[in-house]
Symmetry: C2
Subunit: 457 residues, 2 copies
């Protein structure tokens, strides 16, 4: 790596350095591979690393650049892709043994677009098996570990992508989000991640979990990098920035039942909100009616849809699943259609409630998670004196954006009591993905929590 | 009734005669009430007749007309409304005892629009209980009978509306259509009826059967009257006529498995197609792949959604249902969510097939029913040598338009072997409702089957 180019650049800065020929794509990929070499054995972030392919793609990128041909905004930048996206060059396993000898062909639309924009797919990231869990402790490749403290989980199901960005192995990694799977590891690993408005990104080539909720999305250190990735993935031009400060922006801070959290998390999120208010935002408190029931209905829909998708695999290769995933998929087969339908109907009414809230405020704000990353192997955590499963602790807040289809970005807002990261979530109106990222970018201009990095043991 | 105004006018002609003051609204309503008086005891078409209300509304219509105030295109024209639409002036029973003492308040959007356009709601029509059947033999008000032969059924579930128009009790009647419930009685009673594109008409105030498929729609003697009613119900202006003849129109005649029919029906439909071809249409034959499976999947979705809607009623007032309706609703509770979801997914793929067909042809053509109206009390009918339930015989063709959401119009095309009417169905592209009615109108300009009337015993 050229001495002139500092380490720890964002994807945006890296792409710009490559374009200015301050550093070659081959050097950038080598540096990324070296970082993976240092961190992979400890974090287990990757299921597969394409050393040769990535170097070949980088050589090609440099050759094209020498002829003045720039593929796009990510020319020469290595990225990582969660192992539930189909990719031409690498097999897809969904971190499960089920697909073992049945390779899935093709490439996800969003992956192809990133490739066309110059990105180099350096490897596939580890995940909770089939994305059917939020701890990332269940994977045919073994659990991922949090770069901030290897005895803690990354959260999931995009935990590998979370660890890969947090430990500077790549600047951008793809996640997928059905009930928080992008935002949970983003918060737990101290990086940024967006679940776009449902339908913004093509789900084509992304293995489904629950199509009523599934969203593709990017994870990165900064909101700026998220916006670069999102515009490429969506095949749109980022609209002109509207939000330059928080002046006059009405925040609805979600409080009340279903949104209780640990004191260290509450303190960090409160500090973050105060920074936004100092920048001109107007703060009010809002409550979500029937949040507990909504959480249950989100689960019912997801369980039923996951079991529907897995019906054939479950018959043909039941031994391929981890026991917990398999038993949950089997249980989901017993959900009655009338209950699934009732859940979808409840959802329609619930969405109206949250959309109405977003007429009186501009964004909803809440902690991404009620706690910092739990210890590996802990089945339960205690939140505000109440014990809950780790799975529920991870999803009990993020589900809201999936159930309503609204865009939600998680951004780091400082370390909690055990020096583990805390994340804050902003939820915007349907279709306002880039406005939401403008706000996150403004927050990151006011603070520097996104620049904090783990010191790995 | 003024001697100058002939009987048997269409709604369009009647409205125009009223506007020209050749006949008063009161006279028109009286004539409608006299026709009901003659035919109601034999056909049992109505569940409720609002003699006083209709005469009051007519008096009011005449008074407004005298001041030069015309409410709209149906000023002073009496219409009938199927008893599953909420109406301000009359109770709604869905032809069931379940709702007995729990009046449902409000008025369906499409009913309000017809009222605002000047129509007078003269009564509510009989139907298959909760629209959950296609024979119209199951109703808290007793079965309806076909004006063409009182020993035969009207088909359903909008059988009362079919009989009311066929016997000239009203010129326009509302039906609802989840698997043919408008087109089945239209065909069986020798009148016209359209199931619009799914979503064209507001379902607000129409009691649901299966919201994936439910469509409101009008029934009338002529396609022209259907178009008048449809534009009012949709709150749109009828687009300028595009189709003036069938010249160059590509017909795809549906043949093959799942679309077998009796010889008399085939002969009448073939004659009708030949009339269209003589007018310039190009005829080809098309097949629907997996039609049998589609028919089953349509049932699975409908059964599950009906059971979901009836969950509370079924617990609170199970004795209010007819035994067959109740047992079917109870059976529907056992459908698994994974099977419901698989059915919805199959439907997505199936819709693509039929939409692709509608790129190579302009309209699909088929018999509305494989047989003429079956005898009352017959549980089974024989079609092309195969015995099938009367319920399946009524729905085995019409379901196609509901499953795909496409608009479908049924128009009479002559008498079958026992002098009972035969209907032909035209299916168009999504959103092409008025074009489809243009074609039906052209057919009715070429033929006069729609003018044939039953001679009631």
């Amino acid at each position: 790596m050229s001495e002139a180019v500092p380490s720890n650049l964002t994807a945006t800065a890296l792409a710009s350095a490559i374009r200015r020929r301050e550093v070659s794509a081959v050097e950038v990929v080598r540096r990324s591979l070296a970082a993976i070499d240092r961190s992979q054995s400890r974090t287990n972030a990757f299921t597969m690393i394409d050393v040769e392919g990535a170097l070949n793609q980088a050589t090609d990128a440099d050759r094209r650049l020498a002829c003045g041909r720039i593929s796009g905004p990510l020319h020469g930048v290595p990225i990582a892709v969660k192992d539930n996206y189909l990719t031409h060059n690498l097999p897809t396993t969904a971190a499960s043994r089920v697909l073992g000898d049945r390779p899935l062909l093709g490439e996800a639309t969003v992956v192809s677009r990133l490739r066309q924009a110059g990105a180099i797919i350096i490897g596939k990231t580890n995940m909770h098996e089939w994305a059917y869990g939020a701890t990332n402790e269940v994977s045919a490749y073994g659990p991922t570990r949090n770069p901030w403290n290897l005895e803690h989980i990354t959260g999931g199901s995009s935990g590998g992508s979370g660890a890969a960005v947090a430990a500077d192995m790549v600047t951008i990694a793809l996640g997928s989000d059905t009930g928080g799977s992008i935002r949970i590891p983003a918060a737990a690993c101290g990086i940024s991640g967006i679940k776009p408005t449902y339908g913004t990104l093509s789900p084509d080539g992304l293995l489904p979990l629950s199509w009523s909720f599934d969203c593709a999305g990017p994870m990165a250190r900064t909101a700026q990098d998220l916006a670069v990735a999102l515009q490429i993935m969506a095949g749109v031009k980022r609209p002109e920035r509207i939000v330059r400060t928080f002046s006059g922006v009405r925040l609805g801070v979600i409080a009340g039942r279903g949104f209780e959290c640990a004191t260290d998390v509450a303190a960090r999120v409160n500090d973050a909100i105060e920074a936004i208010v100092r920048d001109g935002a107007l703060r009010s408190s809002v409550t979500i009616v029937d949040a507990g029931h909504g959480f249950s209905m989100w689960k019912a829909i997801m369980f039923a849809e996951a079991s529907a998708y897995h019906k054939t695999y479950l018959t043909e290769a039941p031994e391929g699943y981890a026991p917990g995933v398999r038993s949950q998929l089997e249980a989901g087969r017993c959900i009655a259609a009338i209950d699934y339908i009732a859940a979808q109907q409840f959802r329609t009414v619930f969405v109206q409630q949250v959309k109405a809230l977003l007429e009186s405020v501009d964004i909803l704000v809440m902690p991404t998670l009620p706690v910092t990353a739990p210890r590996a192997g802990a089945n339960c955590v205690t939140i505000a004196g109440r014990e809950t499963s780790t799975q529920d602790a991870m999803t009990c807040m993020p589900w809201l954006a999936n159930f309503t289809g609204l865009p939600a970005v998680s951004i780091p807002c400082g370390p909690g009591s055990s020096n583990l990261p805390v994340g804050m979530t902003l939820i915007g109106r349907a279709g306002s993905d880039f406005t939401l990222l403008d706000m996150a970018e403004r927050f990151q201009a006011l603070t520097s929590w996104h620049d904090l990095r783990p010191e790995m043991q």
